[in-house]
C-alpha cells in the first residue's frame, strides 16, 4: 500500500511539472516588432486590424446587474460583430484585488502575456498601479473617441489629483449628490451648514457612512471644503499649515452634529450600502451617492421610495471620473485599446445613458460633441430624481490629491469617531 501511495505521489508531481508549459501569450501584432514599441506610429485602423481575433479580459466591479448586462450583452456583442474581439468580463468584488494581481505578476517577472487586459479603475488604485510602473503608458489620446473629451477639465486630467497623462481612458463620470425623500422634506438644505442645522432640527434622521468608506469619505471632504471656505487653495500637494486649522473647524462641526445623528451618533453605517438600507426603510430621510443617477436606478429597482429625489449644494459638489486602464504586461493591448475606444464612443455612452439600460453619467463633453449627439443625449428621458446635466456641470468641485484624502480619513477616525 505504501508503494502505491508513493507511486501516486510521484505521478502527481510529474503532472505538476508537466503543467509548467507557461501560458501562451497572445502576441498583438506582426512578429517582427512587439506592439508596445510600434503602437504610437500606428493608425487606429491598423490597431483595429491588430486587435482582430483577440480576447480581451476586462476586470471590473461585478456588483451591478445593469452594468453587467450592458457589458456582457450590448458591448460584448457589438465588439464581436464589428471588430472580431471577444470580450470576457472578470467580475471582482474590489478592484484592489486586481491591482494586487498585476503587482504580483510584476513581482514574479511576468512582463508579457499578463492575464489582465483592461481594468475599470480610478483614484488610489490607479495611483498604486502607476507608481509601481505597472500601467501601459500614453495611449488614450490615440483613440478616435478621445476627441470628444475635454482634457482641460481638471476632473478628467487629474484622477484624484494625480496626473493621468493618457495612461487611462475615461469611461464614466461621477458627481457626488445628496439624496432625500421629498415626501419627508419639501426643500432640502442648500449648503453644508444648513444641512447640519437641519440634522439637529430633525434628530435621528440623518447620518453618513463612516470613512474609510468611499461615500462617507467624500461627504466628510464636503464638510472640509465648507470649513475651508475657498477649497481651491487646497489643490496641490499636502500642506500641513493649511490643513490644520481647517481640520480643526471640520471636527468641531462634525462633533457638534454628532448627537443629532441617527442612533445619536453612537454608531455610523459601515458602508454606503448600509446607509441606502436605512434610507430605503425610512429610518433616515437623507442619503448620498457618487452617482447622480443612483437614486433613479434604485427607484426603478424598487429599492428606494418613488418620492426620492437628489440635490447638490449651491456651492457645488465633488466630481470625479472613472476610467479604464491597461496593465503594462497585458497580453492583448491592441484589443484593449479598441474596447476602450468603443466604451468611450458617443454611441456606447448613449446606450448606457438610457435609464432602462444603466442610467450612466457620461464624461463626454457636450461642448465637443457634434450637435446631433447633443440633441440625442438631451432628449433622453430624465427621471425626476436625476438633476439636469447642465445644473450638475455648473456645480462641480474637483478632488484633492490623495495624501489630503488619507489624512482626512485618519483624522476623522481619531477626532470624531473615537471622541
Amino acid at each position: 500500500m505504501r508503494a502505491t501511495y508513493a507511486r501516486l505521489f510521484v505521478m502527481l508531481t510529474l503532472l505538476l511539472l508537466a503543467a509548467c508549459g507557461g501560458q501562451p501569450g497572445a502576441s498583438s501584432g506582426p512578429a517582427d516588432q512587439p506592439f508596445e514599441q510600434r503602437y504610437r506610429s500606428m493608425s487606429f485602423e491598423q490597431i483595429v486590424e491588430a486587435a482582430r481575433g483577440q480576447t480581451v479580459t476586462w476586470f471590473m466591479w461585478g456588483g451591478s446587474d445593469a452594468i453587467n448586462a450592458y457589458v456582457n450583452g450590448y458591448v460584448a456583442s457589438t465588439l464581436k460583430e464589428r471588430y472580431g474581439i471577444t470580450l470576457k468580463q472578470a467580475p471582482v468584488t474590489d478592484i484592489v484585488e486586481t491591482v494586487n494581481k498585476v503587482l504580483a505578476e510584476k513581482q514574479a517577472g511576468k512582463d508579457t502575456g499578463g492575464s489582465v487586459d483592461l481594468i475599470w479603475i480610478n483614484g488610489e488604485n490607479f495611483r498604486t498601479l502607476k507608481e509601481a510602473g505597472a500601467v501601459f503608458r500614453n495611449w488614450a489620446d490615440l483613440l478616435p473617441s478621445n476627441q470628444f473629451v475635454d482634457w482641460e477639465n481638471p476632473s478628467i486630467a487629474y484622477d484624484f489629483g494625480f496626473p493621468v497623462e493618457y495612461d487611462e481612458s475615461p469611461w464614466g463620470s461621477a458627481q457626488f449628490v445628496m439624496e432625500y425623500d421629498s415626501a419627508r422634506l419639501s426643500e432640502p438644505p442648500r449648503s453644508v451648514e444648513a444641512l447640519l442645522e437641519w440634522a439637529c432640527a430633525n434628530p435621528g434622521k440623518f447620518t453618513y457612512p463612516a470613512p474609510p468608506d468611499f461615500t462617507g469619505s467624500v461627504f466628510v471632504r464636503h464638510v472640509f471644503y465648507a470649513a475651508a471656505g475657498d477649497y481651491r487653495q487646497l489643490l496641490g500637494p499636502f500642506d500641513e499649515t493649511r490643513y490644520a486649522p481647517i481640520a480643526e473647524r471640520t471636527w468641531q462641526m462634525l462633533n457638534g452634529v454628532e448627537p443629532c445623528l441617527w442612533r445619536g451618533g453612537e454608531t455610523y453605517p459601515q458602508t454606503n450600502t448600509a446607509l441606502y438600507d436605512l434610507f430605503s426603510r425610512g429610518e433616515v430621510w437623507i442619503s448620498m451617492n457618487y452617482s447622480p443617477t443612483h437614486a433613479a436606478n434604485q427607484i426603478a429597482r424598487g429599492v428606494y421610495p418613488a418620492t426620492a429625489r437628489t440635490w447638490v449644494f449651491d456651492t457645488g459638489t465633488i466630481a470625479n471620473t472613472n476610467y479604464v486602464t491597461i496593465p503594462y504586461n497585458a497580453a492583448n493591448k491592441a484589443g484593449a485599446m479598441v474596447v476602450a475606444n468603443f466604451l468611450l464612443s458617443p454611441e456606447a455612452q448613449y446606450e448606457a445613458a438610457k435609464p432602462e439600460v444603466v442610467g450612466w453619467s457620461t464624461p463626454l463633453s457636450f461642448a465637443k460633441l457634434p450637435q446631433e449627439w447633443v440633441e440625442k443625449f438631451s432628449a433622453l428621458p430624465r427621471p425626476e430624481a436625476v438633476l439636469p446635466a447642465d445644473e450638475l456641470a455648473a456645480r462641480q468641485l474637483s478632488e484633492l490629491q490623495a495624501p489630503w484624502l488619507t489624512r482626512i480619513e485618519e483624522d476623522w477616525i481619531a477626532n470624531v469617531l473615537e471622541r
Binding site: 502505491t4 507557461g22 448586462a69 467580475p91 484585488e97 494581481k101 424598487g302
Partner: protein
C-alpha cells in the same frame, strides 16, 4: 459483535419523543434561514417592518437566467472544479488516511503534522506566495492551478476522515481475503472499499463543499479568469442588490443540498466493518 450464540434479535426500539423533537428543531433551524432568501429573490420592494415584500418581481431570476449574468458558466465551472478537487483529494487522501490510520512508522508524527497543517494555517496566508510560484510555472489563471490550490485546504479533511475510518477498520478482513486467493486489487474492491465507503463519501462531501465555497483562493490563483459562483456572489453581496444576491445564494446552495440528499443514506447508516465510529 453480537454475543456468541444469540439469535438475531428484534429491531431496536423507536427513539423517544424528545429525540424527534430535537431532530425537528435541527431541521427547521437549518431550513429557516433559506426562507428569507427565497422571499428576497422574488422581491421588488421589501422594507422594514413588512413581513412580506410590498411588490414582487422576477427581475433577479431573469437576470440570472440571462447569459449576461455569467451564472450558468460559473455554475458549470464551480461544479467541474469541485468535482476535480474531490477526485484528486480522494486519490491522495484515501491512501494517506490509510497509512496514518493503520500503520506505525518512523516520522509518522511529522508527516501527520504536515498533512494536517493546512487545517491550522489558513490557506489564504500562503496563497500569495503560491501565486508567485504559480505565475512562474504558468499555473496561475488556469483550471489546473486553481484545482491544485484547492487541494491544499481540502486534502487534509479527506486524510483526517479516512484516518479515522481506517483506524476502525479490522485488517484481518483483508488478510482473510488474501488467504482465500484474492489479489490486492480484488481485496480493495470486495473488502476494503465497501467497508470504508460510508466514511469515504462523507469525506468526499467535505472536500466538495470546501472547494465549492472557496472564494479567496480561487480569486488569487484563478485571478478572475476562472469565474466561480462565490465570486459572482461576493461581488453582488456588497452592492446592496438584495434580490440578486438572494437568488445567487439559492443557486449557490442548491447543488450542496442536492448532494447531501443523495448521500444521506451513507450518513447514519449502520457502520460496516470499517464504519465511521470514530466520528
Amino acid at each position: 459483535m453480537r454475543s456468541p450464540g444469540s439469535p438475531a434479535g428484534p429491531s431496536p426500539p423507536r427513539p423517544p419523543l424528545l429525540r424527534w423533537f430535537v431532530l425537528a428543531a435541527m431541521v427547521i433551524g437549518m431550513l429557516l434561514p433559506i426562507v428569507p432568501l427565497v422571499i428576497w429573490s422574488f422581491a421588488f420592494r421589501w422594507s422594514f417592518p413588512d413581513l412580506l415584500p410590498e411588490r414582487w418581481s422576477l427581475r433577479a431570476w431573469r437576470y440570472l437566467a440571462a447569459p449576461e449574468s455569467q451564472v450558468l458558466p460559473a455554475l458549470r465551472d464551480s461544479l467541474l472544479l469541485a468535482g476535480a478537487v474531490t477526485l484528486l483529494a480522494t486519490l491522495i487522501g484515501v491512501p494517506a488516511g490509510r497509512a496514518l490510520g493503520m500503520y506505525r512508522f518512523r516520522g509518522r508524527a511529522v508527516i501527520e503534522m504536515l498533512i494536517l497543517a493546512p487545517l491550522i494555517v489558513p490557506a489564504f496566508a500562503v496563497s500569495l506566495g503560491i501565486q508567485i510560484v504559480f505565475i512562474r510555472y504558468g499555473l496561475a489563471d488556469t483550471f489546473l492551478g486553481v484545482t491544485l490550490v484547492h487541494l491544499v485546504p481540502a486534502t487534509p479533511y479527506m486524510a483526517l476522515v479516512m484516518a479515522g475510518v481506517f483506524a476502525n477498520f479490522d485488517r484481518q478482513y483483508e488478510d482473510l481475503a488474501r488467504t482465500l486467493g484474492a489479489r490486492p486489487l480484488q481485496v480493495w474492491r470486495w473488502v476494503t472499499l465497501p467497508a470504508v465507503l460510508p466514511g469515504l463519501v462523507v469525506g468526499a462531501l467535505f472536500v466538495f463543499l470546501i472547494s465549492w465555497s472557496q472564494y479567496a483562493l480561487t480569486l488569487i490563483i484563478g485571478g478572475g479568469r476562472l469565474v466561480t459562483l462565490p465570486m459572482l456572489l461576493f461581488a453582488f453581496a456588497r452592492s446592496g442588490d438584495n434580490a440578486v444576491t438572494a437568488a445567487l445564494s439559492l443557486v449557490f446552495i442548491a447543488p450542496a443540498v442536492v448532494l447531501l440528499a443523495l448521500i444521506a443514506r451513507f450518513l447514519g447508516a449502520a457502520p460496516a466493518a470499517g464504519g465511521i465510529r470514530g466520528l
